[in-house]
């Protein structure tokens, strides 16, 4: 259980997170919200990249001290970006264990990398240069990199960016399987409400740096919230006990202008 307690953070004077308190549990936790609401900042604060006010506890222990004891506690995949590094997939995944490598690459590490590559079914790409892979394949490689250190917590920042619908579902089915198999806690920042509703065991909605709703997706995503927070009109329906959301128009202000 990961407890975020009264987290505040600001870049310069602009507050980005205001008094955020969330509890994440084992399984897939999705974090959604409009642009610039502080989703990525929240992940960075959890990962310890940014120093925020407030506290993050993992099973009752302060996360920063838990991380000192076990640096591999968190696996973090940042937002997709093009990489031009001339490194093979194997080498990229290996870098996930940066804190274990001194100079030589040990056979143990190579075995560890191979296991993850087999798990994600990309072992055939092991010796391909990363800069020649498609976006989806690169995405999988970076997930492998986050997983190779056997983390307890997996932070994913918009993992479905640049993926077509098929690959989005394939990726999430994989994450679901992994979360189940490894008893992972996945915290996933997403824009796609349908994916969040389909795969998220829990959903947190951020708006303007504040938590405006959290809970089971079916309960959280009501018409009012979708209109107020995401500023779209949407048709909601239920299919196979899962919520489907079909947005069809942007919410306009009274004078007819689109709210930006």
């Amino acid at each position: 259980m990961l407890d975020v307690k009264r987290l505040c953070f600001s870049y310069a004077t602009e507050p980005v997170l205001r008094d955020v308190s969330i509890t994440f549990e084992t399984g897939i936790n999705c974090v959604c919200g409009p642009n610039a609401c502080g989703k990525t900042t929240l992940l960075k604060c959890i990962a310890g990249q940014l120093q925020a006010e407030g506290q993050v506890c993992y099973h009752g222990e302060d996360l920063a001290s838990a991380l000192k004891k076990k640096p591999s506690l968190i696996g973090y995949m940042a937002q997709y970006h093009v990489t031009n590094a001339t490194l093979s997939v194997l080498e990229v995944v290996m870098l996930g264990c940066l804190d274990q490598i001194v100079w030589r690459v040990t056979p143990t590490l190579l075995e560890q990398v191979e296991m993850v590559l087999v798990e994600l079914d990309i072992v055939h790409l092991a010796h391909c240069p990363i800069n020649q892979l498609s976006g989806g394949q690169q995405q999988l490689v970076f997930i492998a990199q986050a997983l190779v250190r056997n983390p307890d917590i997996l932070l994913l920042d918009e993992p479905t960016n640049n993926l077509d619908v098929h690959h989005q579902f394939e990726l999430f089915e994989l994450i679901e399987k992994l979360a189940d198999k490894r008893q992972l806690m996945v915290v996933c920042v997403l824009h796609d409400l349908n994916l969040a509703a389909r795969f998220g065991a829990r959903l947190v909605i951020l708006n303007n740096g504040e938590v405006c709703a959290e809970g089971v997706p079916q309960d959280v995503l009501d018409d009012e919230l979708i209109q107020d927070t995401f500023r779209v009109y949407a048709q909601r329906s239920v299919f196979q006990e899962r919520l489907l959301i079909a947005p069809y128009a942007a919410v306009r202000s009274e004078n007819g202008a689109v709210l930006l």
Partner: protein
């Protein structure tokens, strides 16, 4: 998979060994060519068998040809290491010690010293005043970069733009000095700017060698972090690397390295840009191989340039800086066109 990785590593080691041999060959060739009338067999004999009947050849080789040959190796390696690291920390394939303005600042410092009338001073001071002044110039530029890096928390673009601005500023200063210089001074400045390894003496060599060793060992100890930095700033941060701090340290080390290399031999362009690219194209971005290969490639390139500068026009030395670009540029273009991914 372990087997395949082992194979790749063996191939990378092989490339390193081959490049090491190339360095040795270039070095020996460099010792065997020069304006003195010595045949290859005489030169080789003097190199490896020291007998009393070839004292003259020995003096020519060990006292006249050895210092510039060594200096070419060291400066080539130093510029290449600095270029490799600067490209890595800035995520920019165009960055090199020259982009950061360090060498232009060194040129500016040298020009100032050359314009001052130093002949009234004792010889040992007047001899070292030009390199010293060049080094001070380069260090000033490094300081500016360092402070901008501190203020901007190592932000890539602002640093490169600052470097480029510094380079323009220093070049303007050099042009201004040249405009006001007398004919003799102008000639001295232009000659310095061309870059020349034949001014080298043993003090220069020992200083360059020790700075190069220190910088190399330091960068080498950060190999894995620098490799991870190649994945981009964001990704490196998620792997727990303090990117801004690392960048700042590397900038300091590399600008000092460039300052020392450039202040003794003058502006020698291109090596710092090309050598890392050649290394990357052959062994990839694993810094355990990339860094030494860059250094060796740099050494080979500058040695070849020095060889060319001695042998292109018989009985005449032309500046090695020109030769570097002359052989480097076409070779580099061929590499880019035929580029093969690792």
């Amino acid at each position: 998979m372990i087997h395949a990785y082992g194979q790749k590593r063996r191939r990378q080691c092989l490339v390193l060994v081959a490049m090491g041999c190339a360095v040795l060959i270039c070095f020996v060739c460099n010792l065997c060519t020069g304006s003195a009338d010595l045949s290859w067999s005489e030169s080789l004999q003097a190199c490896f068998f020291r007998t009393s009947d070839n004292t003259m050849a020995q003096i020519i080789i060990f006292e006249i040809r050895l210092p510039p040959a060594l200096m070419a190796l060291l400066v080539g390696a130093a510029l290449a290491v600095a270029g490799a690291e600067i490209q890595t920390v800035f995520h920019n394939p165009l960055a090199s010690p020259y982009t950061l303005g360090v060498s232009a600042a060194a040129g500016c410092g040298a020009a100032v010293a050359l314009m001052c009338n130093v002949s009234v001073l004792p010889v040992f001071i007047s001899e070292s005043i030009v390199p010293l002044s060049a080094c001070v110039g380069a260090c000033c530029c490094s300081l500016v970069l360092y402070y901008v890096a501190r203020i901007k928390q190592g932000h890539c673009e602002s640093m490169i733009l600052t470097g480029v601005a510094c380079a323009f500023l220093c070049n303007a200063c050099i042009a201004l000095l040249q405009y006001f210089a007398s004919e003799d001074e102008l000639q001295a400045i232009v000659f310095w700017l061309f870059g020349n390894v034949h001014r080298a003496n043993w003090t220069h060599i020992s200083i360059t060698a020790s700075v190069l060793c220190a910088a190399y060992v330091y960068c080498s100890s950060l190999s894995w972090k620098l490799t991870a930095l190649r994945l981009g700033e964001q990704q490196a941060r998620t792997l727990g690397i303090p990117v801004a701090q690392l960048r700042l340290r590397i900038i300091v080390v590399c600008s000092l390295l460039t300052a020392v290399a450039v202040c003794f031999v003058g502006s020698i362009g291109f090596v710092g840009l090309v050598a890392p690219h050649i290394a990357r194209m052959t062994v990839g971005d694993d810094h355990r191989f990339f860094l030494p290969l860059s250094a060796l490639t740099g050494a080979v390139l500058l040695s070849l340039a020095s060889l060319l500068s001695k042998s292109l026009i018989p009985q005449m030395l032309f500046p090695v800086g020109i030769a570097t670009s002359l052989i480097g540029a076409p070779f580099f273009m061929i590499m880019v066109i035929k580029k093969k991914q690792v």
